[in-house]
Amino acid sequence: MNHEIFEKNVILLSIGILITVAVGGLVQIVPLYTLDSTIEKVDGVRPYSPLELAGRDIYLREGCYTCHSQMIRPFRDEAERYGHYSLAAESMYDHPFQWGSKRTGPDLARVGGKYSNDWHVAHLIDPRAVVPESVMPMYAFLAEKELSFDTAAAHMKTLRALGVPYTDEQIENAQADLLNQANGDADEADPDALLARYPKAKIGDFDGKPDTITEMDALVAYLQMLGTLIDFTEYKPEMDYR
């Protein structure tokens, strides 16, 4: 048979495999870039603020995604528990996205605003202090660890290279915005400038320690904005049936 040539030549075999897999991949991936309907056109979704972005990094670093999805599927049980199904637009600035399918804990796509900052802090320090039957690990060290954010602007530039529309102004003000959001009550804070750049950002001292910005501040700021950007009372689902 003619495929003997592949069986006897490792290089040809590798090239053959590569071409076959590439066809399979391209057929699935390329249309996502050309279809008009991949990402819904909705108002409200904006790139993460520097503090939220830092919180998101901690979320990834700690592997929260191994137990939590961020993807509410269009099923009745999920809608009743978590709210409106997730839109692709809500994760269009996520690199990488956090959809996931492993749910040891609840979906977090719309956890923003569901709890108070205090609750999140108490829960992350020791989940069993507030939910006695919880199997979630303790993340108490986050409250002790100061956030390092020297690279905030560089991080945003990198994301811009990947297509996240950060403006020059946002990148220039990365440090200031981060300080602003975490020290909402501090005297020199300028919340209006922050909110103009990042509408609906939650401002405050998230972890109850006003004099330091900890990793806890960043993580809670991130959790508190999840799923809050789109106003679903204005959203017209029939525009995005697929």
Binding site: M1, E4, E7, P31, T34, L35, D36, S37, P74, F75, R76, A79, R81, G83, Y85, G113, K114, Y115, S116, N117, D118, W119, H123, A129, V130, V131, P237, E238, D240, Y241, R242
Partner: protein, 284 residues
Amino acid sequence: MANVEKDALTGTETTGHEWDGIRELNTPLPKWWVYIFAASVVWAIGYYIFMPAWPTLHDYTKGILDYSSRAAHRAEMARVAEARSVWADRFREATVDEIAGNDELRRYAMAGGAYLFADNCVPCHGAGGQGGPGYPVLADDDWLWGGTREAIEFSIRHGIRSESDETRYNVMPVFGDDYLEDEQIAQAADYVLHLSGQGGSDAGHELFVDECSVCHGEQGTGLAEMGGPNLTDGIWLYGTGSRDDVMAQIRNPKHGVMPAWEGRLDDVAIKQLAVFVHGLGGGQ
């Protein structure tokens, strides 16, 4: 088919390739497998025709059925809403007191409320509404903002120190920031101990009337309009009511935040919850 030959032992054709004298049999695929494969191909063609399948440049083929999982989901939610409307409409029109006054509605509210409470409130208020440090008990008759069904409904709907425009809001002043002297703080704390029957001393009575009664009431029994807790009943939000806990609260007060549920939960759910919470045992 260069040098295909049959294997002498099995009578099956070989692939004709040989490695160190070993030849590979070319056993035909089992029939059942071939038929299922062919059926899958036919099924796939039917699927392309009926269901959304192929991307075109900017759009995709919708298929004869024009199926959309989102449309199907919306249709299901509409069916559910329709089925529930028998009850839901009555809930929307009635006040919480009217709901509680009607046996049928009340039973429905208590059953639905139990689920809603488990999904949304238990992480803060505990499984039976038993509360925890900073999170008030909802099953007793000690209310911060009032224990009538309407007051409870308002607390749930708009939250407490929440982001809602209509939130219940009041904060206790920071008395430790050079406002009161240390010994005045100690005196106020001793008076709170006195009020709650833990000894203390009543020397701080005047100070209490001047500085604390606007929110906690002249007798220290609490003022629901201000969210000032009753300080006489031995039920504490923060700590155990020890002298240290009370001093800490006067010096640099803590404040609880309860999210507003309007927007996250609908009107019917909020009313069910109000009736449910009121029925936990301590409603007024």
